[in-house]
């Protein structure tokens, strides 16, 4: 049975996952530079070993209020098309192996901004994981400035 590895993380109590291949690294970072007049989904910029990385506020992408950036926040850094992009999340979870058969379409009752980001639902033993559409999660133009 083919399996896929997912890196999981939590935002506002919900477990999300992205394919491990899409993840460059995970780290906690405390200093972000705000970009005035940019999309509210942009949390800020930070310095990743000399590279300027944009951090996307996943809370805003999910239709929630902005993440407070006054202390360290976890970053899931994804390999973007031309440069890495970070997703700001609340907490990092485990990397889990998932069989293809475990993926189900999102429930029809799931609507709104979250629905747009979610590809499928995975039933774990004790909770649900939502598989995130990486390209959409990184797209800050979805949320108007």
């Amino acid at each position: 049975m083919p399996t896929r590895q997912y890196a999981t993380f939590e935002v506002a109590g919900q477990l999300f996952g992205v394919e491990v291949e899409a993840v460059q690294e995970v780290l906690s970072f405390g200093e972000y530079t705000a970009v005035p007049l940019s999309s509210p989904a942009v949390g800020g910029l930070f310095n990743l070993r000399g590279q300027v990385i944009a951090a996307v506020d996943l809370r805003v992408q999910l239709g929630l209020p902005r993440q407070a950036l006054d202390g360290p926040v976890m970053n899931v850094i994804l390999r973007g098309d031309d440069e890495p992009v970070s997703l700001l999340v609340d907490r990092i979870g485990e990397v889990i192996d998932l069989a293809d058969s475990e993926f189900e379409p999102p429930p029809e009752t799931l609507t709104g901004p979250t629905r747009e980001l979610v590809l499928s639902t995975v039933k774990l033993q004790d909770r649900l994981m939502l598989a995130v559409d990486v390209a959409r999660a990184m797209d800050t133009a979805r949320v108007a400035a």
Partner: protein, 821 residues
């Protein structure tokens, strides 16, 4: 002659590379005899060499390559198959070409390199019989692996008289390095007599025997050299030059010259082609290093550890040199662009019926290659424009008492981290009235606005989109596009365009271009708790707004500032960013910026410092905002946005019209100065005189030079139990100070409990003067010039002078500051 030399050098470099490739291709061809791509590639390469050698009249080279080409065309057309023999023959041909090239490189001529045997060999290959794969052809005894036996001797017998001494390495910066390490005096190792007694392998290592060089340079007689060589062969262990010197047959200077010439590497060795991507990645790494350096410098200042400080300063130096070195590898002389212009000028001036001489100054000035590309079109446009509109027709010039032949001067030079490129003509100059009329006609400005503008400001209107003063549209220029495009292109690369014109005397267009795109000088400011970076090229001055002597005023709701009699529109950065609603009108700074020929002031909370920053491109998602030119990483590792000043101006709706309206003429300042009688302290700095308004002077002091101490890069002196930072006025002026005496006069300036001292060479006088300001100099810290006591004297604006020397002076961070300042 020089041009020809350059062509030959290029030909040599290129051919050397091609020959190496040919070797590989021929060997591959042996393994893949059917590959048409390989045959075509080999054919093309040989064809290129043949074509160029024909053009340069190297007949032997041409003959060899021609023969090779014939053979190759038979292989290409399938007239005969590729055999090991054919390959060997072709390799032998390549070797012959190589030795011919070496002869050309060393002597400037082909010499007497024999080509007959190779040509004969090739011709034999083309005999029908040779086409038989079975034909063993043992006679040629060619082993594909060692084609060398066929290599003819590089003859020395006939060095061409007009030896081209200018060799490629001399053109590159690498030359001194190569020359500084003269080859080990290995004359004895390759005992080749100048008379050409023996074929030498030395030629192929790109190094010529000392004996030969001595003879060639007239340092020794051929007979003496031959004599010395004879002795070496008989067992004399001394080096050739030593033998000659010991016997007084040559002079040490001549030997040094010969060794020097020998030490130069051959063209192919001293110039290599490097992948631009590799250079770019090196450049990025150096950028990182600059960053780390900045961070370390900051921490070491805080650490107060002398050992660390020394190490950091050393790192600082090395980093700067490395940065410079890497930048140099990407540099190309502006001559590359200019070389196309004589033709442009010639054709155009003929088409316009004008006589124009093109002069070039500083053509060796180097620019980053990416910038060179970006400057190409604007420069060409300026030149075309100058020919078309700048220089007058011969009859007009004669009428004006000028030489019928006009002069167009291209000038390039480095200046303060920038490259300035000027296009200057000695034509009629820009007719300000006509420009004004034209601008009004086109609705760019109103007649009332024009009345308020200085001649300079009017001239700058030519950079407005849709402006053209050409009376008739010519096919050269004058379609109303151009100058604005020039400006846009130059500003896109972080440069600036300026024009200066004197009626009847000519016009000078000046492009100020950064040395590189990757690292810029920038001013860091703070606004609403975040730091922002402004490219220094856009920053004209800094003013501290204390709410009293310098204050923000309001025209209706629009904030403005009176800058030397002119109203400057203001932009509040925090409001523009929607950051804070609080309106602070004092204790803030105004950064005077210029973009798109508009000046405006930007209000920020603090001015931090000026430093080099590494420009990082911003992700496309931020491009639409348009306010940011990129991002950078500051000394403490935090990311800061680099502001795009031109977009800021546009975004803040500083329409050209409204900003122009708020500006009054320069004359206002002169008039104001003329009516006020003020007391001035006249000081001398070198051969220049500087007047300081006495009401800004707190005290005059004389310090012993020995008491002046250094804190960081600053000079300070202990004064009234305080540390008084000192500013050398000569540095501000860019003047050469007098010979230092034992004491130095210092003008002390105090404000808000802080003081700074201005070091001058001497105090001349205190005068009461109705000073008439003659010009509005845009130099930092100077209000203008006036004639005082029959001498041209510069008027110092104390506040700005201090600020120019120390942007932090007015910052409210006294603790850290006193150390730094």
């Amino acid at each position: 002659m020089d041009d020809l030399d350059d062509i030959i050098q290029e030909f040599l470099v290129e051919s050397h590379e091609n020959l190496d490739q040919l070797d590989r291709d021929l060997v591959s061809l042996e393994e893949e005899p059917q590959s048409p791509e390989l045959i075509s590639r080999i054919f093309r390469t040989i064809h290129t060499i043949k074509g160029t050698s024909g053009f340069l009249a190297f007949t032997n080279l041409e003959a060899v390559t021609h023969a090779g080409e014939s053979l190759l065309s038979r292989l290409r057309d399938g007239t005969q198959p590729v055999t090991a023999d054919t390959i060997s023959t072709l390799l032998a041909m390549v070797d012959t070409v190589r030795s011919l090239l070496s002869a050309i490189e060393n002597t400037g001529g082909e010499g007497a390199t024999g080509i007959d045997s190779v040509v004969a060999m090739i011709n034999r290959q083309m005999q029908p019989g040779a086409a038989e794969p079975a034909t063993p052809e043992p006679a040629t005894a060619m082993d594909p692996a060692t084609p060398a036996p066929a290599t003819p001797e590089p003859a020395v017998a006939a060095p061409v008289k007009a030896i081209r001494r200018k060799r490629a390495p001399a053109r590159k910066a690498a030359a001194p390095a190569a020359a500084a390490a003269p080859a080990a005096p290995g004359a004895a190792a390759a005992p080749v007599a100048a008379a050409g007694a023996q074929p030498g392998g030395g030629r192929f290592e790109g190094r010529r025997p000392v004996g030969e060089l001595l003879v060639e340079q007239g340092g020794a007689l051929a007979a003496d050299v031959a004599d010395a060589l004879q002795r070496q062969m008989e067992g004399d262990k001394r080096q050739l030059a030593t033998i000659l010197l010991d016997e007084g047959k040559t002079s040490p200077a001549a030997v040094a010259a010969a060794l020097h010439a020998q030490g130069r590497r051959s063209v192919a060795d001293s110039a290599i082609r490097v992948d631009v991507d590799l250079l770019d990645s090196l450049m990025n790494l150096v950028g990182e290093l600059v960053l780390v350096r900045n961070q370390l410098m900051r921490s070491s200042t805080e650490a107060h550890d002398p050992a660390l400080t020394r190490t950091t300063q050393r790192l600082n130096l090395i980093t700067s040199e490395l940065q410079e070195g890497i930048m140099k590898t990407r540099m190309q002389p502006i001559e590359q662009l200019w070389s196309k212009l004589p033709r442009v000028v010639r054709d155009l001036s003929q088409a316009c019926g004008k006589q124009i001489r093109l002069a070039m100054e500083g053509k060796e000035t180097e620019l980053d290659r990416s910038l060179l590309e970006a400057v190409k079109d604007p420069l060409t446009h300026l030149v075309r424009n100058a020919v078309d509109h700048g220089v007058e027709r011969p009859e007009e010039r004669v009428g004006a008492g000028k030489d019928p032949q006009g002069t167009l001067t291209l000038r390039a030079y480095h200046e303060g981290g920038h490259v300035t490129v000027e296009v200057a003509d000695d034509g009629s100059g820009i007719d300000v009235a006509r420009v004004a009329q034209s601008a009004v006609d086109r609705g760019l400005v109103t007649a009332a606005q024009v009345g308020q503008m200085s001649p300079r400001e009017i001239m700058m209107l030519v950079f407005q989109p849709g402006f053209s003063t050409a009376r008739e549209v010519t096919n050269v220029s004058g379609r109303g596009v151009g100058m604005d495009v020039v400006k846009t292109n130059i500003e896109r690369i972080g440069g600036a365009v300026d024009v200066n014109s004197e009626p009847g005397a000519g016009t000078t267009w000046r492009l100020t271009i950064p040395l590189t795109l990757a690292i810029i000088q920038a001013l860091t400011v703070e606004c609403a708790g975040e730091r922002y970076v402004i490219p220094q090229v856009a920053v004209h001055e800094l003013v501290y707004i204390d709410g009293k002597s310098t204050r923000i005023e309001y025209a209706s709701d629009a904030p403005v500032y009176r800058l030397r009699g002119k109203l400057l529109p203001l932009v509040r950065l925090d409001q523009m960013f929607g950051l804070t609603g609080e309106r602070r009108d004092e204790g803030v700074y105004m950064v005077v910026l210029q973009a798109d020929a508009r000046r405006f002031g930007m209000i920020v909370d603090r001015v931090l410092n000026t430093e080099e920053v590494v420009v990082k491109a911003l992700n496309a998602r931020f491009k639409d905002i348009g306010l940011y030119a990129g991002a950078t990483i500051l000394g403490d590792g935090k990311v800061a946005l680099i502001l795009d000043v031109a977009s800021l101006a546009r975004r803040s709706r500083l329409a050209a019209a409204s900003s122009d309206r708020t500006r009054s003429s320069d004359a206002g300042q002169a008039a104001a100065a003329a009516t006020s009688v003020q007391r001035l302290l006249v000081t001398g700095v070198g051969d220049r005189r500087v007047a300081i308004p006495l009401d800004t002077v707190t005290r005059l002091e004389e310090f012993e030079r020995a008491r002046i101490e250094h804190a960081g890069s600053r000079q300070v002196v202990q004064y009234r139990e305080e540390i008084l930072p000192l500013v050398r006025l000569a540095d501000l002026l860019g003047a050469l100070p007098d010979e230092p005496g034992d004491t130095v006069p210092v003008v002390v300036y105090s404000e808000r409990g802080r003081s700074a001292g201005l070091m001058v060479d001497k105090i001349v006088d205190i005068v009461e003067e109705t000073a008439t300001v003659r010009t509005d100099l845009h130099e930092d810290g100077f209000a203008g010039t006036a004639v005082i006591q029959q001498r041209v004297t510069e008027l110092l604006d104390m506040r700005r002078a201090i600020l120019a020397a120390d942007p932090n002076f007015y910052a409210e961070i006294p603790d850290e500051h006193l150390v730094e300042a």
